[in-house]
Amino acid sequence: MIGFSQVHKRYPGGFEALKGLTFEVAQGEMVFLTGHSGAGKSTLLKLIAAIELPSAGSVIVNGQNVGKLRRSAIPYLRRNLGLIFQDHKLLFGRTVLENVMLPLQIGGFESAEAGRRCRAALDKVGLLGREKAYPVTLSGGEQQRLCIARAIVNRPAILLADEPTGNLDSTYGDEIMELFRSFNQVGVTMLIATHDDALIGRYNARALHLHQGELVP
């Protein structure tokens, strides 16, 4: 599903964020990505979503070499990914429902079908009934769950989460991890970046450890 081979990422200025990464994530797998901040976790996720391009090596997602994609093909790659951000990246000028609706509008869904899917996604994350609220009135945990609802509304095969529990206290964090586990149980491939080692211990999942841009056992 996701394959890295000898991937290097050097930023302008010479900083080497990733050095010779090689690994695979199989379909339906749930994998944690750990390491201190600055270890390269975010960069790795950005390479999968073609937000950054590798300096060397190849990143294969769904059989496509992401680094070699034409500019016009990148949106279609991203539609197969659900992206969950630490800073949520919600649109504060739009309601909860409109935020969740955005990926479907981009995909050109009909409004009736889109409305059904949005309500299903909001129900999944426990925000049904808040459709007309604006994100600014939601708590941090609710904003994170709204971000998750937006990521899953398109029913992507792969979910990428960057520090999804980073700003939340542990009760909220556990709720979100439970959500992820339920997605994984219906076959979604999950890659979750976190610096919280305690979290990984509680789940029976593979972990990739990054240290200064390299994989360590």
Binding site: A49, I51, S72, P75, L83, L91, L102, I106, F109
Partner: protein, 302 residues
Amino acid sequence: MRGWLAQHRHALALTLRRLLGHPLATLFSIMVIGIALSLPAGLYVLLENLGTASGNVAAAPQLSLFLALDASRQEAMQVQARLKNHPRIRGVRFIPREQALEELKQNAGLGDVVESLPHNPLPDALVVTAKSDDPALLKQLRDELGQWPNVAHVQLDSAWAERLAALLKLGRQAVLILAALLGFALLAISGNTIRLQILTQREEIEVAKLIGATDPFIRRPFLYFGALQGLVGGAAALLLVGASLHLLNASVAELAALYGSDFRLSALSSGDSVRLLLLAAGLGWFGAYLSVARHLRLIEPR
């Protein structure tokens, strides 16, 4: 197909929301576009009116033949007979000097002046309609008839109309140049409002790109915005021109009455109005397109 329609509906809804979200800014841009377009449109209407006013006269291939003052009525009849037999002349109308004086009295409001004249200063006249309206042939005919005995003067009635037509042509070219310049202004206005929009929507564009929006999807609402702004600006220009003509027509009626005419300025034709609206919308769209193409690539999620 349905998805495509849904996307366009979405873009249009977003555009309207952005337009109505900043009513004052929207109003100002529309007024600027309206004024910029109303200048060439207004001048064009005035020229068209002048054209129709002169057009009635300009087309007729007519010559006026003035006889010598001492020519007798019998001699005048001889000239008329000779004209009737001329191969290049279609028709002849005789205007006796008494009738000419009478017409002058009634038409030009010079009754008192004419009354005070000791004798009739006008000659007998013949109005000749030529078969051809080729200016070169008409001039040749004028020179030929001028040589005839008892003919004092031949005047080609289309000469002044030709000059007016040349002037009108010059005016039309000036309007074209003005329209081209102000068209560029419209492009710039549209491009600039879109640039500001893109900057304020930066965050939204980034997020949309992150969740798989294609460039056309992001571009679409901005293009709609440009076209719609241009269209409404064009409508404002039509309103401005219409209102100005309405105001002017009161004075025109007064002026025309003094000349014994019921001439009025006519408004922009519906065909021209539609063309103006389409052109305004098209220019607005194009200005938006140029701006979006330039600025959208600079916004990439990081």
